[in-house]
């Protein structure tokens, strides 16, 4: 059902965990709809130095959260805001089951919420 790349990220998510020194935190989703994702970012001089996540969700949700964190590391917050679901899907080897596309969107939403949180705190 899932590609090798998705399973790799699911089995061994490198960016999973809490980021204690985060200066931006975003959480989206709820248990009623299924998935909950929380993204932590550490921003220095406008650049995302570190990104981590916590996810309650299926394989695709965990893999997509991990991918989002991997992609945005080293990017400016403005570039990170431009991340699309296609970027995440491409990073995961180019395919996600149709029903799981929303997982990649949720990951991006969590990231954007974290950036928004950072900006509000540092305006």
């Amino acid at each position: 059902m899932y590609s090798k790349k998705v399973m790799e990220h699911f089995r061994n998510p490198k960016n999973a965990g809490e980021l204690k020194k985060a200066n931006g935190i975003g959480e989206v989703g709820n248990t009623a709809c299924g998935d909950v994702m929380k993204v932590y970012i550490k921003v220095e001089k406008g650049i995302i130095k570190e990104a981590k996540f916590l996810t309650f969700g299926c394989c695709a949700a965990i893999a997509a959260s991990d991918a989002v964190c991997a992609i945005v590391k080293g990017k400016t917050v403005d570039d990170a805001m431009k991340l699309t679901k296609q970027d995440v899907i491409d990073y995961l080897g180019g395919e996600l089951p149709q029903l799981k596309i929303h997982c990649s969107i949720l990951g991006i939403d969590a990231l954007k919420a974290a950036i928004k949180d950072y900006k509000e705190k540092h305006a």
Binding site: F10, R11, G17, A32, V36, K38, A61, L99
Partner: protein, 389 residues
């Protein structure tokens, strides 16, 4: 890697003795039981024997057993067959919210044809509330269809009590016994049930074959038209090899196996409850639960993710939520027992068989502990079970 197969509610391994039983019926005893020559009559004799074997398990007459292509067809035939044949008497059917889709969607199809369906709720262990059933029966009620052993949470309904209520009101009673057949004894002479759906591949028989018990005298219509097979209730040349395999699987089943499987089931449940905190068993305990069914919600963990980790380590299970199987909605059965949606999405079903071993159960408990901890570590949810229930 050797697989640990804990998805016997989905399907089972065909017993090697069943395979052996079937083989001659492909290329040796291949006659059509409807043919009048010797080759045909030879097949017919075996077919009759198989029918008697299946009937015996229910203490029924051989002419009360209709072979079908499986559980889904049996459910369709029972419900539509009664509905169409008795339309002059009424248009009301009572079922429950925890039925298998084969019953639920048959009822929904009948709704479009003008039948009225009442979907009864259940209590928090999945039992039908008998008073609700009594109140739901109207003068127009034709049929009550209630699943015997629930496929998701293992609840075994009290057939005799339900059947007695139906009898008092002159209403026919169908039960989907696909999961419970051979695991829970049913004596059709004693229990007032008119139609019983059975399936072969849930009891170590081949796929593509099942049966419907139809009590003698039940007014039924056929829903598939053709020849006069199966007492004119199910047209089509009989699947003789499949039926022989099914009958063999029935003969191989035993009450002592059911007792042994129940012990393993309880070992799995108590192992999980001992090793992992914040878990909830869905459905009842003990004798009112299918001997091979375990269904557990793990707080703050998503079921598909947990099932996938287990799969990677060779353990086949299924999720309580239908999420992994092409729908994002949590299971209708878990919602019907009032389970919180988050917990419903964090539910795993493990279904055992007579081939399950103690070692496999213990290994599964260890793996579950490992992966639930791993997933809880990366979960943003930190809910305590008692706050959710």
């Amino acid at each position: 890697m050797k697989k640990i197969y804990l998805d016997n509610g989905a399907t089972t391994m065909v017993d090697p003795a069943v395979v052996k039983e079937m083989l001659p019926f492909f290329s040796d005893v291949y006659g059509n039981p409807s043919s009048i020559h010797q080759k045909g009559q030879e097949a017919k004799r075996y077919l009759t024997e198989a029918r008697e074997d299946v009937a015996k398990k229910l203490n029924a007459g051989y002419d009360e057993i209709i072979f079908t292509s499986g559980g889904t067809e049996s459910d369709n035939l029972a419900i539509k067959g009664v509905a169409y044949a008795n339309r002059d008497k009424g248009n009301h059917i009572i079922t429950t919210k925890i039925e298998h889709p084969a019953v639920l969607n048959t009822c929904k199809a009948l709704e479009k044809e003008g039948f009225e369906i009442k979907y009864l709720g259940v209590d928090n262990e999945g039992f039908v509330i008998l008073d609700d059933l009594r109140k739901a029966i109207t003068p127009k009620t034709l049929l009550v269809s209630i699943i015997h052993g629930n496929n998701e949470i293992g609840t075994i309904q009290p057939l005799e009590k339900i059947g007695n209520i139906c009898r008092e009101h002159g209403v026919m009673f169908h039960t989907d016994a696909v999961q419970s057949f051979t695991k829970v004894p049913i004596n059709a002479k004693k229990v007032p049930v008119d139609l019983i759906s059975m399936s072969s591949h849930k009891i170590h028989g081949p796929k593509g074959v099942g049966a419907l018990y139809v009590r003698k005298g039940t007014k039924m219509a056929s829903i598939q038209h053709g020849g006069a097979h199966e007492f004119k209730l199910r047209a089509g040349t009989e699947n003789v090899p499949g039926i022989m395999g099914f009958a063999k699987a029935v003969k191989l089943s035993s009450d002592s196996d059911a007792k042994r499987i129940a012990k393993l089931r309880d070992r799995l449940i108590s192992g999980i409850e001992k090793e992992i905190h914040d878990v909830k068993l869905n459905g009842p305990r003990g004798e009112k639960r299918l001997c091979n069914n375990v269904n557990i919600a793990f707080a703050n963990v998503e079921g598909e993710a947990l099932g996938s980790y287990l799969d990677v380590s060779g353990i086949c299970t299924s999720t309580g939520s239908a999420c992994s199987s092409h729908s994002l909605e949590p299971s209708h059965v878990l919602l019907a027992i009032g389970l919180d949606k988050g917990l419903a999405n964090g539910t795993l079903r493990m279904t055992l068989s007579r081939f399950t071993t103690e070692e496999e159960i213990d290994y599964t408990i260890g793996s579950l502990k490992k992966y639930v901890e791993k997933l809880r570590k990366i979960s943003p949810l930190k809910r305590v079970l008692k706050d959710v229930l």
